[in-house]
């Protein structure tokens, strides 16, 4: 029995070989897909910057479709599956009970993701990641999405299998540690979400194969966002779980009140799943009161959960640092926090930007009256680069600096560069996102090749101030890509050349 485990010298965590390998490969796949997604982002952002306007028309749309898929779907979910394995085995000190299922899930995601990339680059699916019907893609595109989604579904199911068997073996007695509890919330939402995915992509595939004549566009949008929006809540739950775990690993801090934090995760599960109609606020078909109940009542209870975490995490950081002796005045603990440790700064930047950029704009754009003046403008793209990039991606980047030493037993290389990476990337994404939000307030559309409208029968000239905002987006994008490249180099560099950590 003992032979399958090794004990991490710095944390005392027990890691078994099977889950170590699963975490390693999911992490490698996450890094690789983020690298591709980031390169595509460079092409896209340099095209949206009017004074550069880099790519030709078809490549702009192709790269944009793939940027959405590789960054939002592949990078985030591969990382989350790595977290699923980590929190359902390593944290509990038990083994991976179904490694074969982990590899099956991994293979399906890899094959599905690869298929999507090939089809899109070959020009078979210029449909954006939303693939709104009746815009049609090659059937292989939908098959790729379904394979990836089934893989992800199995990945989340592994969480349940592991924790049930882990309890039997004494991995935990009554309650999961909070980090695992957060991933439990993420996995529950993941399963519900991916069921919506099946409900919409299977009919769409049949339609693309001409087995059924028509998929209703309004129904497609409703069910698609039943997938699309709650899946963002997987990302939020996983991100918050990472925040809590980072505080624990870096500072030894513990949640101030388990009851409060756990209740907040339950609020995510209960409410955000239904609150997905803010994508449909200016759609035909749904009635006004339906939309209002969904987007106000349901959404605000989920926002309440985020408000709770926004209190609980800084509080636990403060408590931990005060325990280490930084007790002078109100803010000595804040000054003395380990700002040079990229795991800590990544978490702090993620909390700050997620709340102030992503969260607040989300609440605003999600109201009925504001949505009509922002829907499908680039302000929306600005909003979700505040959530899923400045929030989730930055948090995951920070956590990588902890995971690599644990699971690869390698030290992070280039410590100096590592300590500035979260700041570089965070600043870039913040500028990118604010630039987009500001340009969008003048009506600049998202997913649009040419806002000078060359070749159109009529031409519209935007308010001249958008030049400044789109340049801000461009400069921010370049900074973010630089920070992203640095992250990839640090990640792969440490995995390959990092100094071996011996027992």
């Amino acid at each position: 029995m003992a032979s399958i485990f090794r004990t991490d010298p710095s944390t005392g965590l027990k890691i078994d070989r099977a889950s170590e390998n699963l975490i390693r490969w999911n992490l490698i796949a996450a890094l690789a897909t983020l690298a591709v997604g980031g390169l595509l982002a460079l092409g896209v952002v340099l095209t949206r910057w009017p004074s550069v306007h880099l790519l030709p028309l078809d490549y702009y749309y192709r790269f944009l479709t793939l940027h959405g898929i590789d960054a939002l779907l592949a990078w985030i979910i591969f990382f989350e599956i790595a977290l699923v394995h980590f929190t359902s085995t390593v944290i509990l000190g038990t083994r991976s009970y179904v490694p074969w299922l982990g590899w099956l899930a991994f293979a399906l995601m890899l094959i599905g993701g690869g298929l999507i990339n090939v089809i899109v680059l070959m020009g078979g699916a210029d449909v954006m990641f939303t693939s709104y019907v009746p815009l049609k893609a090659d059937p292989l595109y939908y098959i790729g999405v379904i394979l990836f989604a089934v893989g992800a579904l199995l990945g989340f199911i592994i969480f349940f299998i592991n924790i049930v068997l882990s309890k039997r073996d004494g991995g935990y007695k009554r309650s999961l540690p909070l980090g695992s509890f957060g991933m439990l919330a993420a996995s529950i939402i993941g399963v519900l979400t991916l069921a919506h995915g099946a409900a919409i992509f299977i009919p769409t595939l049949l339609w693309a194969l001409d087995f059924i004549p028509w998929v209703d566009p309004a129904a497609y949008r409703l069910v698609f966002w039943g997938l699309g929006h709650p899946s963002q809540q997987i990302n939020v739950s996983a991100m918050v779980a990472v925040w809590y775990m980072t505080v624990a690993f870096v500072l030894g801090g513990k949640p101030v009140n388990e009851k409060l934090s756990r209740t907040a995760f339950v609020l995510y599960i209960l409410f955000i799943n239904v609150a997905s109609e803010h994508h449909l606020l200016v759609d035909p078909v749904l009635s006004t009161w339906h939309k209002i109940v969904n987007t106000s009542y349901m959404m605000h209870l989920a926002v309440l959960a985020s408000m709770i975490h926004a209190f609980a995490i800084p509080a636990s950081i403060e408590v931990a640092l005060r325990k280490q002796g930084y007790t002078r005045g109100l803010f000595e603990w804040l000054k003395k926090a380990p700002w040079g440790n990229p795991a800590f700064s990544g978490m702090a930047i993620s909390i700050l930007l997620f709340g102030f950029l992503g969260g607040i704009t989300g609440v605003i754009f999600g109201t009925e009256q504001f949505n009509i003046i922002r829907h499908n403008t680039i302000a929306i793209t600005g909003h979700f680069h505040g959530t899923v990039v400045a929030g989730t991606t930055v948090a995951f980047m920070g956590f990588t600096y902890l995971l690599i030493p644990y699971v690869f037993r390698r030290e992070i290389i280039w410590k100096g560069f590592a300590s500035i990476q979260p700041y570089l990337y965070g600043t870039g994404v913040a500028l990118l996102s604010i630039g987009m939000m500001s340009a969008g307030s003048f009506g600049v559309p998202r997913r649009h090749y040419d806002i000078t409208f060359s070749g159109a029968p009529f031409s519209f000239t935007f308010d001249p101030s958008i030049d400044m905002f789109l340049s801000m987006m461009g400069v921010g994008g370049l900074l973010a890509v630089t920070g992203g490249v640095l992250y990839i180099l640090l990640g792969f560099g440490s995995i390959i050349w990092g100094k071996k950590i011996e027992h």
Partner: protein, 178 residues
């Protein structure tokens, strides 16, 4: 710690700070929650909800009927129509045009119908930045009262293929005829 199992009993009461914070957050959420329906009832800028299902052929007939009755001119090959306020106004989206150009009068209230002949499009009225989805098979009816006169543009802001960026239409609002 978030990485260790909590103590045996973790269902502890909240401290004072926590209670204050949660109460404030809850109040804020309740205010936002009440605010949205109230704003809907008192505000003048609500997304419409009136919808009918319609086939592309039928909608096309309605558009052509309106044009035959109210055409007042032509611009760049697009008919310009000046419909009366008590009749429906139809705008047709297709790859890649907004058709026809409509001329409305300031201060009058219109029923503006939107539908697509092929795939999804995004109706974005600029520079006022009003955005609505246009779906095939559905007739989406917005009740609008123009409050400023002048020249407006309709840009497509839902991706609709290679011509998406060329899908620009026009709309006029005239001072009311005496």
């Amino acid at each position: 710690m978030a990485i260790y199992e909590p103590e045996r009993v973790w269902w502890n009461p909240l401290s004072k700070d926590e209670r204050i914070w949660v109460a404030l957050a809850l109040i804020w959420m309740l205010v936002s929650f009440i605010f949205m329906p109230i704003y809907h009832l008192v505000g003048a800028q609500n997304p419409p909800a009136e919808t009918y299902s319609v086939s592309a052929e039928d909608y096309d007939k309605l558009v052509e009927g309106m044009i035959a009755k109210y055409k007042v001119g032509e611009e760049n090959g697009f008919p310009v129509v000046h419909p009366s306020a008590d009749e429906p106004v139809y705008i047709r989206a297709s790859m890649w045009q907004w058709y026809p150009i409509v001329e409305l009068e300031k201060g009058k209230t219109y029923k503006l119908h939107l539908s697509s002949m092929d795939i999804q499009h995004g109706f974005s009225l600029l520079p006022i930045n009003m955005n609505l989805m246009v779906l095939p098979g559905y007739d989406y009816v917005a009740t609008i009262t123009p409050t400023t006169s002048g020249e407006f543009h309709v840009v497509c802001n839902e991706f609709c293929g290679v011509g998406h960026h060329m899908m620009v239409g026009k709309m006029y609002v005239k001072e009311p005829a005496k």
